[in-house]
């Protein structure tokens, strides 16, 4: 069975369930590291994600799942293969075009929150919107408040982000990822640094986002419990997709 067949089969099995548009297509992605020695971390990886899906990418550490996430999030541009998002080819775009593309279409949630410590929670959420320049400053502020309120964080809006707890910071980070209504929300171990209570809260938020708002979410995780609750699991091993459950 060659790669193209594998891809078609996947597409066929999924398009029925979600019926929506394909928001992400990865085609034959390969990537090698050359330091300290040559090592092929991704081998001809292809998959699609439909609008409104909650996809988990799992696998042991070193299997290439994080690398894959950084490729499809356009942060890493050194790879072979092609990536389409919203039917637009992002492979080969210039760094500036990619930056603008990320700003508009991708929201990130990382393991270590990564809020800007000098800014208030509200400002952290507002910055990507202000960068996008689609809304006026007061509109940005309203939208940021709205997102924070939805995540029950509005009462901490004016607090300095460094003064918030881990769980609170992660919720602010989710609000920030959502501010520009991204096509895809990408998580890199979004619950990896949280206790079980907060993990549940964050997972419920993501699940709710997906269900009630139709937000597409792709998340890398090694928390099997987390993965089991998502719509689809892409399991990776040694740079290849070994299992595709959905």
């Amino acid at each position: 069975m060659d790669d193209s067949n594998k891809y078609d089969k996947t597409k066929a099995s999924l398009s029925g369930r979600f019926g929506g548009a394909t928001v992400l297509s990865a085609r034959n992605l390969s990537k090698s590291f050359y330091e300290p020695e040559e090592f092929q971390v991704l081998k001809n990886v292809s998959f699609d994600v439909q609008k409104g899906e909650f996809v988990s990418i799992v696998g042991k550490s070193g299997c290439g799942k994080s690398t894959l996430l950084y490729l499809i999030s356009t942060l890493d541009t050194e790879y072979k293969g092609e990536i389409f998002m919203n039917e637009k080819k992002v492979t080969g775009l210039s760094q500036n075009e990619l930056a603008h593309f990320r700003n508009e279409h991708i929201g990130f949630v990382f393991q270590f929150h990564f809020l800007l410590p000098e800014f208030s929670a509200l400002k952290n959420v507002m910055l990507p919107a202000e960068k996008l320049g689609k809304y006026s400053k007061s509109e940005c502020e309203d939208r940021a408040y709205e997102k924070l309120k939805w995540l029950n964080m509005d009462k901490f809006a004016l607090k300095l982000s460094s003064k918030l707890s881990g769980g609170q910071q992660q919720r602010v980070a989710i609000a920030r990822a959502l501010i520009n209504d991204p096509t895809i929300m990408m998580g890199d171990e979004p619950t990896g640094n949280l206790d079980s209570t907060n993990t549940d809260i964050v997972f419920d938020i993501l699940k709710d986002l997906c269900k009630s708002k139709g937000q597409t979410i792709i998340s890398v995780t090694h928390d099997t419990e987390f993965a089991q609750k998502s719509d689809r699991i892409i399991e990776m091993k040694d740079g290849e997709i070994v299992k595709h459950e959905g």
Binding site: N96, A99, F108, F114, P117, P128, S136, R176
Partner: protein
């Protein structure tokens, strides 16, 4: 709406006020010291230049006496093929150091449109005799009104008036230092003797002080005809012609031209005051070297602080890039921070410089016989402040440029993966 990049830069600067302040103080001191040094040095230079210009004509034409007598007139009349003329220790006889046909030269100069004033003069060595004391000095015979137009003698008068020279038949204007040495005052009589033995008595009608010891302690002015009388020459006999130009910056070229036209030596004021001009140049160079060093040191300080800041903000930069800020945005953020430090540092530096130079300006100058000023000479030129501001901003821009470019190039993946 404030650009979001500027907003981030502002937040960064205000989040660490102490660090920002220290970086700014580096620029402040650099610019402040530059302003102080340039104001003071330039003030001193201008004072000196003013003094030199007021005491020397822009161009001076005189007869430069040759002392090379190796060529004898005997060679002209004898056949040098057969005879060899040897003269031991040749000496000149009755050489007159005057300018021949001076009146023609003066007429000609007055027609030249670059020339503002012409003053012929007859200078001679004299002894000032006061009882048993004899002081060596110089005496200039001038038409005092023309000389005053030339040298700015009028404001340098310490006592008496220059017009007194015209109304009193044998009046003399004497250098203030010289008058003090001779212990004479306005109204007193003084005897002058020439090296040739002739003598004359003059009445002191005024004293002047240029602020240059070598003039104030030896020089006097009398009417031109009196000196001609004293040295026993006719009324065409002058040794120097002083010229004031409309634009004294042209003096060097004009002097060359006059020298060629009249075949007498013509010196411009820069040549006459060559050693002073060199010291002015050295002070200028020194000022710039020291100020430049101060600013470069401040620049290195900013470079250090910006590099450190960026090293501490690697994660923030990575997250901003993930959020959609481009390399250009990141560069702009950090460059804005460093130039903001530069602008505010330079502005407060200008204020510091102004306060310091005002302080120096109000200091009394140590009392001195040679230099007649009461306080330190300081100038307040807008161009120095504009230059300081510009230099401060450019230094911080360059200092911030390299760390900012580095920040823009940071690969977010490497940092986000840990």
């Amino acid at each position: 709406m404030m650009n979001v990049n500027f907003e981030i830069a502002k937040t960064h600067l205000l989040a660490k006020p102490r660090q920002t302040l220290i970086a700014m103080l580096g620029v402040t001191f650099g610019i402040g010291m530059y302003i102080l040094m340039i104001s003071f040095m330039q003030g001193f230079n201008e004072f000196l230049e003013d003094t030199l210009l007021s005491s020397t004509p822009d161009v001076r034409i005189y007869n430069d006496i040759k002392t090379d007598f190796s060529h004898s007139i005997l060679d002209e009349i004898s056949d040098t093929g057969k005879v060899m003329n040897v003269i031991h220790h040749p000496k000149p006889k009755d050489i007159t150091p005057n300018l021949k046909s001076s009146s023609r030269i003066i007429e000609d100069l007055k027609k030249d449109e670059r020339v503002l004033a012409v003053s012929p003069q007859l200078a001679t060595q004299v002894f000032y005799v006061s009882g048993p004391v004899q002081i060596n000095g110089t005496l200039s015979g001038v038409n005092i009104l023309e000389e005053a137009r030339l040298t700015g003698l009028q404001p340098k008068m310490k006592t008496g008036k220059i017009e007194n020279l015209l109304t009193i038949d044998n009046g003399i204007l004497m250098g203030h230092g010289l008058a003090n040495k001779l212990n004479v005052h306005v109204g007193d009589m003084i005897s002058l003797a020439t090296p040739k033995g002739t003598a004359m008595r003059f009445r002191i009608v005024g004293t002047f002080q240029f602020g240059i010891g070598s003039l104030d302690n030896i020089k006097s002015y009398v009417n031109l005809s009196k000196v001609q009388q004293l040295v026993g020459k006719d009324n065409q006999y002058v040794t120097d012609i002083g010229i004031k130009l409309k634009n004294y910056d042209n003096a060097t070229d004009v002097a060359k031209e006059f020298s060629a036209r009249y075949s007498y030596k013509a010196d411009d004021w820069k040549t006459t005051n060559a050693s002073a001009m060199v010291s002015i140049l050295i002070r200028n160079v020194m000022t710039f070297v020291v100020s430049f060093t101060l600013l470069v040191v401040a620049g290195f300080g900013i470079y250090n602080i910006m590099s450190m800041t960026i090293q501490n903000k690697l994660k923030d930069i990575a997250i901003l890039k993930a959020e959609g800020f481009s390399s250009g945005d990141i560069r702009q953020i950090f460059l804005t921070e460093s130039v903001t430090i530069g602008v505010f540092g330079a502005l407060s530096g200008l204020m510091l410089g102004f306060v310091l130079s005002s302080g120096v300006y109000s200091l009394p100058f140590p009392k001195n016989d040679f230099i007649s000023i009461t306080h330190f000479p300081v100038v307040f030129h807008l161009k120095h402040y504009a230059f300081g501001m510009g230099f401060g901003i450019i230094t911080t821009f360059i200092a911030g440029l390299m760390p900012s470019i580095k920040a823009g190039k940071i690969d977010p993946v490497a940092i986000l993966r840990g």
